[in-house]
Amino acid sequence: MPFLVLFLGMYLAPICVAVYKSLFVMHSQGLGLSGGPSTVFKPLANYTRALGDSAFIGAILRVLLFGVVQVPVMLGLATLFALVIDAVSARVRAAFRFAAFLPYVVPGVVAAMIWSLLYSPNPNASSPFFSNGLTLWSVANVVTWTWTGYNMLIIYSALTAIPSEIIEAARVDGASGWRIAWHVKLPMVRSSLILTTVFSIIGTAQLYNEPSILQAVSGGAISSTYTPVMAANNAIHVPDFQYAAALSVILALVVGALSLGFFKLVNRRGPAWG
């Protein structure tokens, strides 16, 4: 399959390069101004450094907290909206689908720019949205705004695939709209919910655009190592690609384990697909 060839070239090859590089450290001497630094093979150096990097560990814990709250809220809303548009007239549905889709097409950077202005319109007042407890949720709001419609579309497309006989049967049995939604439709879109959850978990782990733009207006509440990917991006700019690669590999392993755990948890009742 051509997909496989491209996949190997565009994903696996760069991943291998990155993993390989993460096994080296850059080393300079003295002022470090004579020629480039030398690379030394020290397979564990970057990893031990990363695990001792309190800012990085803190960032991982932060996105973990973010994900535990934001992903269920966003998917809850997306599911609710999907069920609602499934029960209204085609014209209303089309209009709402359009409205919900629009935030998703706004580039993350622009979305964060707009929200940063909405959060802090007054030059001489501290924005309440970046007070101690609220910062993470102000970021979460931008992410929710952007991605709820997208997830709604996926869940809705699964709803349309439910055979109408099943719905009719439930209705004949006298079930109300809400009961059908909860007991019939929801279980039928389970695989879509699992799909969107896993991809949301991955997206959360890679949170970058929103916090890095909001950083400017956050009054220091968002640091340059607020999320793991921001920390990795810092390392790339040092430039220390090797360390950035190690950070990313650790992040990928953590997220992979979490996603796998989630799959295991929900998959006791059959495979997630089909």
Partner: protein, 433 residues
């Protein structure tokens, strides 16, 4: 899927063939020797508005050399990363726009070429601070293009409305802030500066962030002079004179426009930043940078960049020839002033007529005259260190908190000092704090 597999094999073969062909030949450096009939080709990466026009003018007047300009995103927004990656891959450009603060990083990465033998004879043409910026550890790596001497942009309508004299010293500056606050609590003196803008304050005060002694870096964010600057700015925060708007944010521009933020102490190119907002037009004027002692005449610098010759450039001499021409050509420079808001590092260009014109945006004031007077007074002795982007990241994390009162400025400087020493040691460099 029989047919599909065959097709896949075909694609795979094609990709493999391209890959093998690619690996067989080595990447060129982007330069070649040539004669009048066969001109030398040089590639040049940069981002400042107006560079493209300079390159066009050069190509028109130099048949032996053909420069092709490629725009990249501004250095700290990805341009430097692209240049360093390209050099590593062996297909970097011959010439690149590199800020003075980033040049040592390029040297440390082994990404630039020593052009001392061509360039050193021209040392006297440039403002000393600029020339100093292209010299790293005794060698010259680029040609200075522009510099960022600092001054004070102030809302003259506010100052005259409340009968407050334009401050000449930092003590008067603070007093002016208190007077403005007393007259109208909604008016803040200024906004918090970060990274290279804040460096300009330390630069003026004689508090360089780096130094070398022998083969060892000396990191000195926390020097006594640096602490003096930090304590001063902390006093402004404590007095409630600093706006919460982050500098360069749209709310900052609207604060300047509606009289909620009274001044900006910054480099010459801030004029261009202010001009992005029409409502500011006619309200602001430019005065010299406030001084630490009355009657002194020392300023800092913020920003400015050089044209560096990158590693792998096959024709260093032609590269130098172009870079020198671009920095010193009288005909093409006015365009860089009007389009990019640049201020020339070349001393003789500072007398260009375009720099002596009144600017209607600033009520007809000949604002460049203020900067022209400031340029030779940029303080000597400033040194940039390796890895400035990482260093300013740690600094900004603290300063951003300090400007809204969540931390103090001196504490921010101290923690930046620690983080930067740690980072340099991590790279294996020899460091003293």
């Amino acid at each position: 899927m029989g047919n599909g597999t065959k097709w896949a094999q075909g694609v795979a073969l094609a990709v493999a063939a391209v890959a093998i062909a690619g690996c067989g030949s080595s990447g060129g450096g982007g330069g070649s020797t040539g004669s009048a009939a066969k001109p030398v080709h040089l590639s040049f990466w940069g981002w400042a508005p107006g560079y493209q026009d300079s390159v066009k003018a050069f190509n028109a007047s130099h048949p032996n050399i053909k420069v092709s300009f490629q725009q990249v995103t501004p250095g700290s927004k990805g341009g430097y990363q692209k240049m360093l990656t390209a050099v590593k891959a062996g297909n970097g450009p011959c010439l690149a726009q590199v800020g003075y603060e980033t040049l040592p990083t390029f040297v440390a990465q082994g990404a630039v070429t020593d052009i001392s033998s061509y360039a050193n004879g021209s040392a006297g043409e440039f403002t000393p601070a600029a020339w100093n910026g292209v010299r790293v550890a005794g060698k010259t790596y680029g040609v200075p293009v522009d510099i960022g001497p600092m001054a004070m942009f102030y809302n003259k309508q506010l100052f005259s409305k409340y009968h407050i004299a334009v401050p000449k010293t930092w003590a008067q500056y603070r007093a002016a802030g208190l007077a403005l606050k007393k007259a109208n609590p909604a008016v803040k003196l200024t906004s918090g500066m970060t990274d290279y803008d804040f460096a300009g304050f330390d630069w003026q005060a004689g508090a360089p962030w780096y130094g070398t002694s022998g083969n060892t870096w000396k990191v000195s964010y926390n020097s006594p002079a640096g602490q003096k600057v930090a304590n001063y700015w902390q006093s402004l925060v404590s007095d409630g004179l600093i706006s919460k708007a982050p500098t360069y944010d749209p709310t900052w521009l609207s604060g300047l426009a509606n009289g909620q933020i009274a001044t900006v102490v910054g480099a010459v190119w801030q004029a261009g930043t202010l001009k992005a907002s029409k409502p500011i037009s006619g309200k602001f004027a430019v005065a010299p940078m406030p001084q630490w002692s009355a009657g002194a005449n020392v300023v800092g610098n913020s920003g400015g960049s050089s044209t560096a010759v990158l590693k792998g450039c096959a024709n260093t001499q032609a590269a130098w020839q172009f870079a020198h021409w671009m920095s010193t050509d009288r005909k093409s420079w006015p365009n860089l002033v009007t389009k990019g808001g640049l201020f020339p590092a070349d001393k003789s260009l500072q007398s260009l007529p375009v720099l002596n014109a009144g600017d209607p945006f600033f009520g007809g004031q000949k604002i460049f005259q203020v900067f022209k007077a400031a340029a030779p007074n940029v303080r000597q002795g400033w040194v940039w260190g390796p890895g400035m982007q990482a260093a300013t990241t740690s600094l900004n994390d603290g300063l951003n908190k300090a400007w809204v009162g969540k931390e103090t400025v001196p504490a921010a400087i101290s923690s930046a000092q620690k983080a930067i020493v740690r980072e340099l040691k991590q790279q294996g460099l020899s460091v003293k704090s």
